[in-house]
């Protein structure tokens, strides 16, 4: 099998450079990781290998070779046979990468016909075979399903099947698991690794998650501002990072317990939920309850982590607490400090997708001011806004921008600022950092912790990320299929998870410190 060689590649457009002098090699049977923060040029590297750059960008210098084929100068026809054939690609957010109006079967038939010349019954049989290979328990159902009927993990498996349909020599995997939880991530990466060992597939794994790199990659390349700043074996790079940037990435991925976990937090409850149920749909469309008899309390000044896979009812719980969703039965009580009374604004929420949390046409100032208009005059309003921006360590000048002109990290801070304006006692963060890269995630988590300590703000942190829980939460609640299956102290949870689902979660969470290196695993096996 041939190797993929990128030599001195520079990519740019009018007035900007995206990649400068990138060189890397992926050999057959090799698992190479390309890591870096968002905007570092990782995705563009993969895109230039396929020659599918956005219209404004082009290769300005350097070459990409697959075996003897010069990709940078290949004809469009040659490229079409290489794309999806010898070069497979996996994308982030797999569900969005399927045509919503076509079944999975139809998607799979395309590469089978284009690259294998398979049609008719042979092709249909191959579709089922591929789906079974990537772990569909019921390939028949998977083939007939439409993309929206698949879960994120299933969609990434189907995407993998599609890439494997062309019998690739090299697989470009662009953040294939960043939108998935730890359990699914592990499963997908194991699937890829199996293809590597069995067929000698070369893998270029693009990610910002160093924990998974430690577990799977042979070599690591670190990318910053379009340049490769560090490279070497996984062990050498992760154990002895030479550049500050790599250390920063490592630090950000490595959310160790932060020492605030002493339960000195107040003993009084600020929020009490008793036997809360939520049922969507009526009659025959009535499904499993989204929340099934959930009882829990949030103590004043504590950080409570709520863990669960997608569909476990985490978001419904959050929405119910802030009142965006009515509950079917049960009670919810708020015990606020005397001054706050029964103020409806005392519980605030931070949403997952910062860009979706603002009206794109309004400036941030207009968005933030809106709820204050009723009782504050203009000068008081701008003073409050300035303070809130300072609380989240942002330049107040940012307020005059529109959401599209801000980064995800900046916007998520603004969302927190917006919540703080209401002087809340409880802040619910629903996957507040899942859409952000590791470096930005770290700064937001630090900010939340500071607000917790400084203001005595009670936090409910909803996440699927075990590291976040370990890093900052005093207690953990685990939701599974709408039921609360575990509620305990964080250290006890990690040491001795009780419920089988909790045990799955804990065993899939690979701590980065301690470096569960692939080589070491191989040695101990």
């Amino acid at each position: 099998m041939p190797e993929l060689v990128i030599e001195d590649l520079s990519v740019g457009g009018p007035g900007r450079t995206v990649l400068s002098g990138v060189s890397l090699t992926v050999r057959p049977g090799e698992f190479v990781a390309l890591v870096g923060g968002s905007g570092s040029g990782k995705t563009m590297t993969a895109r230039s290998v396929l020659q599918l750059l956005p219209p404004a960008l082009s290769v300005q210098h350097g070459t990409v070779r697959l075996g003897t084929l010069e990709i940078t100068t290949a004809s469009e026809t040659e490229l079409n046979s290489v794309r999806g054939g010898r070069l497979g690609m996996l994308f982030q957010q797999p569900k969005k990468m399927f045509n919503p109006n076509r079944t999975i079967r139809k998607h799979l038939l395309e590469p089978l016909k284009l690259h294998g010349g398979l049609r008719g019954r042979v092709a249909e049989a191959k579709v089922l075979e591929l789906l079974a290979e990537v772990g569909f328990e019921n390939p028949d159902w998977g083939a007939r399903a439409y993309p929206h009927q698949l879960s994120g993990g299933m969609a990434q498996r189907a995407m993998t099947a599609m890439a494997l349909a062309g019998q690739p020599e090299i697989l470009l995997a662009d953040e294939p698991t960043s939108a998935l939880d730890k359990v699914l991530e592990q499963q997908i990466l194991e699937l890829l690794d199996r293809e590597r060992t069995q067929r000698g597939l070369g893998i270029l794994y693009i990610t910002h998650n160093l924990a998974s790199v430690a577990a799977f990659a042979d070599r690591v390349l670190v990318m910053q501002d379009g340049k490769i700043v560090e490279s070497g074996t996984t062990e050498s790079v992760l154990r002895n990072p030479r550049t500050g940037y790599t250390r920063e990435l490592l630090e950000a991925s490595n959310l160790a317990p932060s020492g605030t976990l002493d339960t000195a937090a107040g003993q009084s409850d600020v929020l009490t939920l008793a036997n809360v149920c939520k049922q969507f749909g009526t009659g025959r469309r009535r499904g499993r309850p989204a929340l099934d008899d959930v009882s829990l309390t949030l103590k004043r000044g504590e950080i409570l982590g709520v863990l669960g896979q997608s569909g476990s009812g985490k978001s419904t719980l959050a929405r119910a607490i802030v009142g965006l969703e009515t509950i079917s039965s049960g009670t919810m009580a708020r015990k606020l400090s005397p001054g706050a009374g029964e103020a409806p604004t005392a519980v605030q929420m931070v949403f997952q997708e910062p860009h979706d949390s603002f009206d794109p046409r309004m400036t941030l100032r207009a968005s933030l001011e809106a709820p204050l208009r009723r009782w504050l005059d203009p000068s008081e309003r701008s003073r409050r806004l300035r303070e809130a921006m300072e609380d989240v360590e942002l330049d107040p000048a940012l307020l005059d921008r529109r959401p599209a002109d801000c980064s995800g990290g900046q916007l998520q801070r603004v969302t927190i600022a917006r919540a703080l304006l209401m002087e809340p006692e409880v802040l619910i963060c629903d996957e507040a950092t899942s859409a952000l890269d590791a470096l930005t995630q770290r700064t937001i988590l630090d900010l939340l912790q500071r607000l917790n300590r400084k203001r005595g703000l009670s936090l409910m942190v909803i996440t699927h990320d075990m590291d976040v829980v370990r890093h900052m939460c005093q207690r953990v609640a685990v939701l599974f299929q709408g039921r609360l299956v575990e509620l305990t102290d964080t250290h006890r949870f990690f040491a001795d998870p009780r419920h089988p689902h909790s045990q799955d979660l804990v065993s899939a969470a690979i701590p980065c410190r301690g470096l569960h290196l692939k080589r070491m695993r191989a040695a101990s096996a």
Partner: protein
């Protein structure tokens, strides 16, 4: 999907019942004696003296409560007995059905032309978004919105019938006489369809799954044919149905100008002559058909985009 089907059919029936009840009430809410009006739509001969009116009214059951009369009227209606026209003294059904046929063929030709014209225009404009071709197509088709039928129709007659003597100026005798009215009717749908196709295709082009399709090895042309255009055309199905339903009764200006004996013309005449049974027959048929078409379009939309339709698999 099945519950959706049942629900939609129920709304369809409810809409037809509600509108037909309103239509049924016309003789009662318009000035004049409702009994005489109804008798005139039921009895061929002339009636003058009050005793005959009373006797006939009783034999027709006009003393019964309104809902009972309504059900009887509706039953007659759906068995093809729509009463007698006040003006021509002939059965309404004999006038409504041919008129409907004429309007249906006119609307189908007009909208068919609009689709055939706007598909290539919209797709081309979308693929060259922001370019000169796009601007040209968009500007020209958008200007069609500002051309009302009562202005365009005489203009076309002036040029193609009077000056060039290429096509008949009015009537409904030969296929050639369909050209000018159909062209007049097609113009505004062309402009709406083109912009819908253009917007739909642009959305489809920008979808995340397009680079993924290219990465599977599909050429740009294959991607556009299999993934962009089919997805971009879904919104057109709904728009088409809305126009279809609207033009069934809304082609009145064109039919009057070109002297076409279609539904629009029929309703226009019925109103001008206070021909209540004719108006009743025409309105119920048009409303029923319009509701049926939009319902069909809803089903079609659900089949074309399974995400909206829920589980079909």
């Amino acid at each position: 999907m099945l519950t959706f089907l049942a629900k939609r059919t129920a709304t369809l029936v409810a809409a037809v019942l509600l509108s037909s009840y309103a239509v049924f009430l016309i003789p009662y809410v318009t000035p004049g004696d409702p009994v005489r009006k109804i008798i005139r739509s039921r009895v061929a001969g002339d009636v003058v003296d009050d005793s005959t009116v009373k006797a006939l009214g009783e034999s027709l059951g006009l003393q019964d409560p309104l809902p009972v009369q309504y059900l009887r009227w509706l039953g007659d209606f759906f068995t093809g007995d729509m009463g007698l026209s006040h003006v021509s003294r002939t059965p309404v059904a004999d006038q409504v059905i041919p008129a409907l046929g004429i309007t249906l063929s006119l609307v189908i030709v007009a909208l068919g032309t609009a689709v055939v014209v706007s598909l290539p225009l919209g797709i081309t404009a979308a693929l060259r978004q922001g370019g000169r071709t796009d601007k040209l197509i968009t500007t020209i088709t958008q200007s069609f919105i500002a051309m009302p039928e009562y202005w365009l129709a005489p203009l076309l007659v002036l040029v193609f019938a009077l000056k060039l003597s290429l096509l008949p100026s009015a009537g409904w005798s030969t296929p050639a006489s369909m050209v000018l009215p159909a062209a007049t009717l097609a113009l505004r749908p062309i402009s709406f369809f083109t912009s819908a196709v253009r917007a739909g295709v642009i959305d489809a082009l920008e979808a995340d799954h397009i680079p993924a399709a290219r990465a599977r090895g599909l050429s740009r042309t294959q991607t556009i044919l299999h993934h962009v255009v089919p997805n971009g055309l879904v919104p057109l199905s709904t728009l088409f149905a809305v126009w279809f339903a609207g033009l069934l009764g809304g082609s009145v200006i064109v039919e009057v100008i070109f002297a076409i004996p279609g539904m629009g013309r029929l309703l226009y005449d019925a109103v001008i002559n206070s021909d209540i049974p004719l108006a009743q027959g025409g309105v119920v048929v048009v409303v029923g058909l319009a509701v049926a078409i939009t319902t069909l379009a809803d089903f079609l939309h659900r089949i074309l985009s399974p995400k909206v339709g829920g589980t079909l698999a």
